[in-house]
Amino acid sequence: MTAGGLLLDAAGKAGLYGLQTRSVGPQIRGGEAAALLRLADWPVETHSGAFDLLLALDWSNFSRFAAEIKLDARSVVIADPVSGTVPEIVTAATQNIVELPIKEIADNISGGRVNMVALGLLCGAIGLHEADLIELIAGKLVAKGASAIEAGTACLHEGFQHSTRLDAVTAIGPERRQTGERRWLLTGNEAAGLGALRGGVRFAAAYPITPATEILEWLAPALARAGGTLVQAEDELASVNMIIGASYGGVPALTATSGPGLALMTESIGLATAAEVPIVVIDVMRGGPSTGIPTKSEQSDLNIAVHGLHGDAPHLVVAPVSLADCLFTTQWAVHLAEAMQAPAIVLSDQFLGQARMIVDRPADIAFVAARRRTENPDDDYARYALTPDGISPMSVPGVAGGQYTADGLAHAVSGTPSSAAEDHLAQLAKRRRKIDEFVYGDHWADIEGDGDFVIVTWGSTAAPVREAAEQARAHGLHIKTVAVRLLAPLKVAALAHELDGARRVLVVEQNETGQFHRYLRSLCDLPADTRAVHHPGPLSVTPDEVLGEILKEHSL
């Protein structure tokens, strides 16, 4: 796997954009794995179409990956004869099979490794400079000593030499960046961690789960450096309650999980709603239901995120519209939760969370935790006072005279348990009001283009939708894309405005039942010509697929 990661690093250093995902077999460690990369001189955000180049070091169990590694007649395949015969599924797709003795080349170098030779081959094929690559590798291998650097350099050199046999591959690099232009290479899980920290989160509770763990592992040392803490909990029932406890104490708090963990947390997220304690829960979605497909992406937790709480429990649900947007959306979620003293669920997914991507440095944003607090409560301080905007000043332990008992039981304005109809109605309405009437600004969605053909989408499918729309525009079509970031409360009027005059509407997402489409239909009057386009994971929604749908609609 390291060769794939280094290739992306090298491309980034050379001024290219790109992304890398991984596909792994069921083994916990080792076993077959594929690194999937897309590199370009423009910001790519998703895989698309057939791969130009496939380098196989080992064909065993290739069939497991075949559905994800699309090849066509132009694809070039590099195979080492000692790895056995090229599978039929590959030869059926392309005739461009280049045989290269990668293992033998590596064996002839003292300390040589096949993946370093492979990396040299690939970098040579796409037109990167050998000297740049050697500098990068030397940097990465410093800790391993001079002999490792020497072996690595020799392998890369041999790889570059042999790459002349790959001239069928289109060279794209190197591209030099404009000076001052800053780019980052990161995963969405790292971006989410940074967003949380920037937003002001200083407490996290963690229970490991694929594919969310990296957020927590990124936060553990980062929080320590920032004067905060992370506690490993015994389960998700504990982690969600730990963050509620910390936040009740005035410290912005977050946890990250995936579907199974979110399911365990729902009772207590309702507590955070009722007791008005801000928390942020990131759900990095994977294939479901149940244990599902832990390592593959799916957008199938929308229903539980929006509707999973018992009782009438208004809360916030947001979803990043790109990998880089995991930073903005998480930071915004912290801000929203704190401002409204309510739980916010961030719906990321395995693709956004675990893909590594070269992106333009995300803009700095001002959203931070700013809770309405009281530091000098008077004698008749009421924690759940009925205010015009529904947000009541919160007192936290340590504030003299502000003592109250936060409660999940229906309560009066003081927090005292009450089953009186008037108290229940007043508190339900107050909690609804603060969420519904908050001014969210333009961030509810990312909107691109204009036209009477509108594609509405959310989460990681926004990237293939944007790319498909761009291609459709090149065909002369007028297309608008609406990637909804604020899923709950849905900005019904703003969405209606965007759909006003639309001739055709596509709703695109990655799940079996079209959860988002059903949700939109339950709240909005969608135009009659609205069509739902969706399929479940593990296969991703691709730009080709969306473009196909656009052209099909258009020709109608």
Partner: protein, 275 residues
Amino acid sequence: MNAPVSLKASDYKSDLKPVWCPGCGDYHVLLAVTKALAELQRPAHDIAVISGIGCSSRIPAYLNAYGFHGVHGRALPLGTGLKVARPELTVLVAGGDGDGFSIGGNHFLHACRRNIDITYLVMDNQVYGMTKGQPSPTTAPDWDSALSPGGTGLRPFHPLVIALASGANFVARTFSGDIKGTTQTLVEAIRHPGFSFVEVLSPCVTFRPEQREWKSAVHAAPVTPTDDPARAARRIMTDDGFNTGILFRGTRDPYSLARSDTVADMTAFERPFEL
């Protein structure tokens, strides 16, 4: 520092009238908690009392302190999060045997093991009071009820021994009717570093009227507390269940709540991403 003002037990009592049945043991526990807090002289606003769900879990609202009445079984993680985020607070977690040992059982083990400096007070009445009389993990096997006609036939859970085995740093048993003893034990539990577990035998006069007899069954532990968990466990496992007092006082270091207060410049966190 303000001039010292002596705080009285009544200063820690809220004006709210408890929902408890007349004669419920929890009234005495409430009184003992206020007396213990008065003895500690901690200002009410620096104390947080956290609970789950059950009759006993209603206690936070009856106190003048910060309180959190959460969901059933999750009081310990709620209190843990608060204490870790705000180490300077005195955090008391309170509840019943169903809340703490059944639905919240896993948190009990891990709270003992984590050894955070909080005090956990369980009002054990060997029944689910709030839901009107079902067996709890500490109920005797032959106790007859609508949900378990003829009894559960199950061996009761032994909270004190489990607390010891899981790493609690202070283990005590008291009887609610012994207000003085409960007060003193709570004071010591709160003062003791690390996780302190206090099981208060607190009768449910409504669903276990026979527990009124507990007052003549309890007796003070005849020995001084040990710091050897094995000795403490042997003693607890061989006693009659009515032996009250501080049974174990450990010396394990509590979970460290220390943290760096150098708030790093945010850009330091971005640097590793830069190309």
